[in-house]
Subunit: 289 residues, 2 copies
């Protein structure tokens, strides 16, 4: 069994990005600049955004955190978005989700200038991705593709099952894995909450990608021997032995599944760290444009 | 076996559209106006565009055919596109594909104002569709969904196999059939040229949608008894007994398959006529916006 080490791989990618930033700066250029918009004080969101900002520093990016009050009006938020769209010194930015309930998330994401949309959530980028055109690919599916690529896992002609059809992970990775590309060219089945017998699909899969948000969902009796298992789950589960009071649990029952697979991502340390690395990669791309 | 009669269904839809147009006109409104851009004199393209224009007349739309010389430069074509984008009396328009080789098709389609993109080919509309937002859905997959809906075929929880991953049919119908919607909510597998054993998937499918462009590809031994088969193929095959010199052949070996299925679309008279009806429906939608 080979562990797909997202932590190690993401460190390598960050190192590569750092070198490219040094090149830009060496020739008198401005380093890439990522901004993050955070509304309110959700614990997980604060952690994610903090981690993104720290990663920027590591690779030599400039970063700006725009932390707004959770009672901000939609109108005021839109005005902040417009400022970011107009600011020529900011290459890309993200709006950390979820937004407070009184704000229309879809409307806000549509306001993001697609050329600065390093999260790849704008329909224009999403459509380009689905049509196999160059675009910003959402960071999590992009991270999965990169991990598969760097570990040399063959995907062409393989039977891939994606569990979960979210706009952030399941839908885009199902498209990317079946696009005419490398990695890609695999036969993808997208299963979801309305699929009656998920294991009838996963049992035949060469590659299983789980993005459901249900801890330990995928058991060893649901998969084929020597398959590749990618775990996108990051549910916080109470754990009083931890200083934080919780642990991060994936969608895969790692203990039993790991003995049956050829490759598997751990949680934490698998897809998670790859996501941030790919966000940085998208920002570098935005800077180069 | 129930024949999914696209000709009859499309006539009904056109009748419904006609009534809505009469309503608009009755209250002093301008009827919907569809324009079609045709470059060159490709035989099939002339037929398709001609058919679209005639359908417009039938439902009371205004239509304009912009027939351009096949040697038109990309720049001149873009200028025509911009005129259409600016013309407030045109609600929607299509650019008939394929375009001559010296013109960058992708570039031209990106120039179409998404609000007039009644073909739904612009990445912005494509992305909205993939994210399950309101958009213009490409006419052929939209026609398939409508046909399934009007015949009351249950799709939720069903095993659907789509053959072919084109941007025009396979990819979008694979997304629509698995979106959280009705029809939709089915478990979709997208198979394509790099899938080693297509029949291993089709044999287990409740619904098979074939959009490959290979005449008589789907044989009866490749499908399950009582499945639903949708044939999107429209290949022209030489036939000297016909006045035109050719006949239209689908991707399904209709003669043998028809005896095994619960529902099937004929070719011609299945998905083809639905496509034009849905183009009209999109144009009406553009007019109402």
């Amino acid at each position: 069994m080979i562990l797909l080490d997202g932590k190690l791989t993401s460190e390598k990618i960050k190192e590569e990005i750092k070198i490219q930033v040094q090149e830009i700066v060496k020739y008198g250029g401005r380093p890439p600049h990522l901004a993050a918009v955070l509304v309110g004080n959700d614990g997980a969101s604060l952690t994610y955004v903090g981690s993104k900002v720290r990663s920027c520093e590591k690779v030599g990016f400039k970063s700006t955190l725009i932390h707004l009050d959770e009672n901000i009006s939609e109108e005021e938020l839109i005005s902040e978005i417009n400022k970011l769209n107009d600011n020529k010194k900011i290459d890309g930015y993200i709006v950390q989700l979820p937004l407070p309930k009184h704000i229309n998330e879809e409307k806000i994401l549509m306001m993001v200038n697609p050329e600065k949309d390093v999260d790849g959530f704008h329909p224009f980028n999403f459509g380009k991705m689905a049509q196999n055109m160059d675009s910003f690919i959402p960071a999590t599916p992009y991270g999965i593709i990169e991990l598969i690529d760097r570990y040399g896992i063959e995907t062409e002609g393989k039977n891939t099952v994606v569990i979960g059809r979210s706009n952030i992970v399941g839908r885009p990775i199902s498209i990317l894995m079946s696009n005419k590309s490398k990695p890609g060219n695999s036969t993808v089945t997208l299963v979801h909450s309305r699929t009656p017998n998920i294991s009838s699909f996963t049992k035949k899969a060469d590659i299983v990608i789980v993005a459901l948000g249900i801890p330990n969902f995928l058991k060893s009796d649901m998969i084929k021997k020597d398959s590749v298992v990618i775990d996108v789950g990051i549910t916080r589960v109470e754990d009083k032995t931890k200083v934080r009071g919780y642990k991060i649990v994936g969608d895969v029952d790692f203990k039993s599944v790991k003995n049956k697979v050829s490759h598997i991502t751990p949680v934490p340390g698998g897809v998670g760290p790859m996501t941030i690395a790919m966000l940085l990669k998208n920002t570098l791309k935005a800077r180069k444009k």
